[in-house]
């Protein structure tokens, strides 16, 4: 089937196999390999992207379904300079191996779009669908707080 979608602000038209997952489409068709496939069963959150501004697990969304919709991946976050979330992960040492980082940032972006000044508890709850197997959760929370502070000026 043919789909037309906007990925990171760019209009994309492709012919795909109907059963293609969004995660596979992004990585293999568009070479946007910042979206990671971890568990591939919608548990770990490494594949999180924004679909029309909301965080979704792209391993469990059909690419067919984003026809006519807007997708943002980690590659769409920086605009010349680092996004405050990316800067926060760098400054607060919010990553060790880095595998979970893109998913963490996309889920945190969804949170900050709904709640510009989240409490530590709200950050932890909003990230419950993202696993860090290096277990560096404390600094991930600090990174999100850093971004919220920076975005609030």
């Amino acid at each position: 089937m043919n789909i037309t979608t906007k990925v990171n602000g760019k209009e994309i038209a492709r012919e795909i196999d109907d059963r293609t997952m969004l995660s596979t489409f992004l990585r293999e068709e568009l070479s946007l390999t910042g979206t990671h496939i971890g568990c591939d069963t919608s548990g770990c959150g490494a594949c999180t992207v924004l679909l029309n501004g909301k965080a979704v697990k792209s391993c469990t969304v059909l690419a067919a379904r984003v026809d006519g919709e807007e997708v943002t991946t980690i590659e769409g976050m920086s605009n010349g300079s680092l996004h405050p979330l990316q800067e926060g992960f760098k400054e607060e040492h919010g990553l060790q191996c880095g595998f979970c980082t893109p998913g963490m940032i996309m889920t945190a972006a969804d949170l900050l779009s709904r709640n510009s000044n989240p409490s530590e508890q709200e950050i932890r709850e909003s990230l419950e669908g993202n696993f860090c197997r290096c277990t560096g959760y404390h600094n991930i929370v600090k990174a999100v707080q850093y971004a919220a502070d920076k975005m609030n000026g």
Binding site: R19, T60, R65
Partner: protein
């Protein structure tokens, strides 16, 4: 993981979806949020020739105040139920329960209609619909029918929906004198209910005039517990009543056992969570 081949079709309306269902018969199934269906397809536990995507049908997406009840479209997501000011004020245990489902990403995609159509025994909505005495509205293309929640959930992954039918909405009665609560003991990774307890008390002053108490995750089929309800009816919500109601929980149920919780542990947790839910309302 790659599912078996299928043809994807996007439905633009309820009648469009039902026409596609009729055309393809049991080769087709409906795709809502996809968070139960797609993992099953990827694991090749299920296999369909056609997926009919109903996620973009606008008539399934509203939450409407109908006075004595609220009508929730089948395509409303868990996240939209969390955020609904109408449900937060009129049927608060719906918003509470929605906030306990999966995680943010799952709540952004998963729908109430999809969840109840799937009828996973560990899903939360069946207990809520039973305790709210909700009605499920179903369409087949030429006529519609309404099924009480008590008749809707018929067993493990089995509901009253027949071939060629789809759920269009859920009607939830509203009462100004109701006190509601939903809490659960959850599997920590999936957040599915090991024991979910939904309580809906109709109050008359300080007295419980009637009670509806339902459980998710305990049995293969969600159920209301008439023994607990009888213990509560006509009483005030004091410590002795709460203790007696909790002790009565799940005594006559056929209880599941799996690697997360044994039968006796589930039964004990049903009692504990009944007491906690009632205490939260006291």
């Amino acid at each position: 993981m790659i599912p078996s081949s299928f043809t994807y079709k996007k439905a633009s309306s309820v009648s469009d979806a039902l026409a596609m269902l009729k055309e393809h018969g049991d080769e087709a199934t409906l795709l809502a949020g996809g968070h139960s269906l797609i993992p099953a397809l990827k694991l090749r536990l299920n296999d369909y020739g056609y997926l009919i995507d109903i996620s973009k049908i606008s008539e399934l997406k509203s939450i409407d105040d109908k006075g004595d009840h609220i009508e929730i479209g089948a395509g409303v997501t868990h996240g939209e139920i969390v955020d609904s000011a109408l449900l937060q004020s009129k049927v608060p245990f719906f918003s509470e329960a929605a906030d306990l489902i999966g995680d943010v990403q799952v709540r952004n995609m998963g729908t109430i209609g999809g969840s109840i159509a799937h009828a996973d025994p560990a899903a939360d909505w069946p207990a809520l619909l039973l305790a709210a005495d909700a009605t499920i509205n179903i369409h087949n293309g030429s006529s519609s029918r309404s099924v009480a929640a008590a008749d809707f959930f018929q067993g493990l992954f089995h509901t009253a929906v027949e071939e060629g039918e789809m759920i269009t909405s859920i009607s939830v009665p509203v009462s100004a004198n109701a006190k509601t609560k939903y809490i659960k003991f959850m599997q920590p990774a999936s957040r599915f209910a090991i024991v979910g307890c939904a309580v809906n008390l109709e109050m008359s002053g300080g007295t419980i005039s009637s009670a509806k108490v339902a459980y998710a995750g305990v049995s293969a089929t969600p159920f209301r517990d008439s023994a607990v309800e009888a213990t509560l009816a006509g009483k005030s919500l004091d410590d002795a009543t709460i203790e007696a109601a909790g002790n009565a929980a799940a005594d006559s149920a056929s209880i599941m056992s799996d690697h997360f919780a044994s039968e006796s542990y589930r039964k004990q947790m049903a009692k504990v969570y009944t007491k906690r839910a009632l205490k939260a309302l006291a």
